[in-house]
């Protein structure tokens, strides 16, 4: 229970940083939308190649979601580096808090951000005319990708 609370406190720390930097939040949301709109329009003709089934947005949306998950995971480590530079990491490590909380809290924040971004992307894609067969599966895949990318980054 204490471990869970501590994990949440760590996640909350990072979420607060994001929430208090509107510019950062804006970029994080706008970037994938630009990918979807720009590349969606740019490569629309790809769908006309023989053997291509469905619309290009159908094809692009999962790609954007996966890219989002992988790049977000890559950036979570940046928070750690900043914490180490500023002495925040030492400050946390001298407390008796559960060690795993520092890692899991940072991952939890990332998962939460990516899920929200994914939902926005999917919503937009549906507006653009994409046929999404199985939304829960898509989100699950994104989360798994995220965990995988995070592992790669940590190791």
């Amino acid at each position: 229970m204490t471990a869970l609370r501590q994990t949440w406190q760590v996640a909350l720390r990072y979420l607060r940083v994001i929430a208090r930097q509107p510019a950062f939040l804006f970029i994080a949301l706008v970037q994938p939308i630009i990918w979807l709109l720009l590349f969606g329009a740019l490569f629309k003709a790809v769908a006309q190649i023989r053997g291509f089934h469905g619309s290009y947005v159908d094809y692009l949306t999962p790609g954007v979601v996966v890219m989002l998950a992988v790049s977000s995971a890559g950036w979570t480590g940046m928070g750690f580096i900043e914490d180490m530079d500023r002495g925040v990491m030492d400050r946390m490590l001298v407390t008796p808090a559960w060690r795993g909380a520092f890692n899991l809290g940072s991952v939890a924040q990332c998962v939460l951000s990516v899920v929200i971004q994914t939902l926005l992307i999917i919503g937009l894609a549906v507006l653009l005319g994409a046929h999404i067969a199985n939304v829960p599966v898509l989100i699950l895949v994104a989360v798994l990708m995220l965990r995988f990318a995070r592992k790669v980054e940590v190791s």
């Binding site: 406190q9 002495g87 400050r91 001298v94 407390t95 008796p96 808090a97």
Partner: protein, 325 residues
């Protein structure tokens, strides 16, 4: 509950023996350091940058493990029982450990949660803490809008939130303006006097150690080279320092002349300043000036001073403070 006040009967709050730590590149940060800090005292660990003070603190606060040697803090072994040690200690590090993108209150709440404090009790304690450190008005402002002194006070408030038995202050006044430094000194004195907390203070400011610490150890090149009370260390030097600033003439010749004055010992020439030590400085000055006069050397200024910790450092580490720092 987590508020750790475990009984421990040992006389010493901190005991370290034979600490060795080597960093990559064959840097021997600690070279067999021994340390004992009596419970309820302010202990000053004094030394220039790179002497091994911070490494010692990192080992005692469980952030780093020694290559050899052992240490106990608040009765617990730092290697075998790190969690117990962490409950008992408060640490104010050299760098700010505060989160700049959170408010002062949020920083304290997160810190409290890490010590297992929760709910209304934690909120109350955070509020008391803010009040005590003069941060009540700024409690809900982001820390990045705080002044340097306020950030440092929050730092200390966070280190004390769980009421530790042993407090580590790693260069607590580095980078503070004189006013903020004076406030910090007053707070450290108050903690030691009223709360009977054991405080290990590292500093490279001689005056800070002189004023705050009841016991001192001088660290140089990873070892303790001297220890005792500030007064005892100073009185070991026996006598006063006479410094003569030469107005003219040949420095080395003047030094040679001074060597022949029986009252003056340990004559040294630094640039245009001649230094000597004398048991009774006041009585020795006329003889010193007469000897210089006889060699046609005039003095631009003569100063007489009681031994300072700077002199103590010079004696034990074999170099002056400025050279080492």
């Amino acid at each position: 509950m987590y508020c750790a006040r475990t009984p421990f009967d040992s006389h010493n709050s901190i005991e370290a023996s034979g600490l060795v730590k080597t960093y990559p590149g064959d840097v021997r940060a600690l070279d067999g350091l021994d340390l004992e800090v009596e419970a309820g005292t302010v202990f000053g660990l004094l030394g220039p940058n790179g002497a091994g003070k911070s490494t010692t603190v990192r080992i005692l606060t469980t952030l780093s493990s020694p290559d050899a040697g052992s240490a106990r803090v608040a009765g617990h072994d730092v290697l075998a029982e790190p969690v117990r040690v962490r409950h008992a200690i408060g640490v104010v590090g050299q760098k700010h450990g505060v989160d700049f993108d959170a408010t002062g209150r949020e920083n304290l709440v997160v810190q409290g949660e890490f010590y297992g404090l929760t709910g209304a009790a934690l909120r109350r304690r955070a509020a008391e803490s803010l009040e005590r450190f003069g941060l009540a008005d700024a409690a809900d402002r982001l820390v990045k809008t705080y002044s340097g002194g306020m950030q440092r006070r929050l730092d200390v408030a966070m280190g004390l939130l769980h009421r530790p038995q042993v407090l580590f202050l790693d260069e607590p006044t580095t980078g503070l303006d004189p006013e903020a430094r004076a406030q910090m000194w007053a707070e450290i004195e108050r903690l030691a006097r009223e709360e009977g907390m054991t405080i290990l203070l590292t500093t490279h400011y001689l005056e800070e150690a002189d004023r705050l610490a009841s016991q001192l150890a001088i660290v140089d090149r990873g070892r303790i080279v001297a220890r005792g009370t500030p007064d005892a260390l100073k009185s070991e030097l026996h006598g006063d320092t006479i410094a003569v600033e030469l107005a003219n003439g040949d420095g080395p010749a003047a030094a040679a002349a001074l060597e022949r004055v029986p009252e003056a010992r340990e004559v040294a020439l630094e640039g245009r300043t001649l230094r000597a030590r004398a048991s009774n400085g006041g009585a020795a000055v006329p003889a010193v000036l007469a000897a210089l006069e006889a060699h046609g050397v005039r003095a631009a200024a003569v100063t007489l001073s009681r031994p300072s910790l700077d002199d103590v450092y010079l004696r034990y580490a074999g170099r002056t403070w400025e050279e080492a720092a």
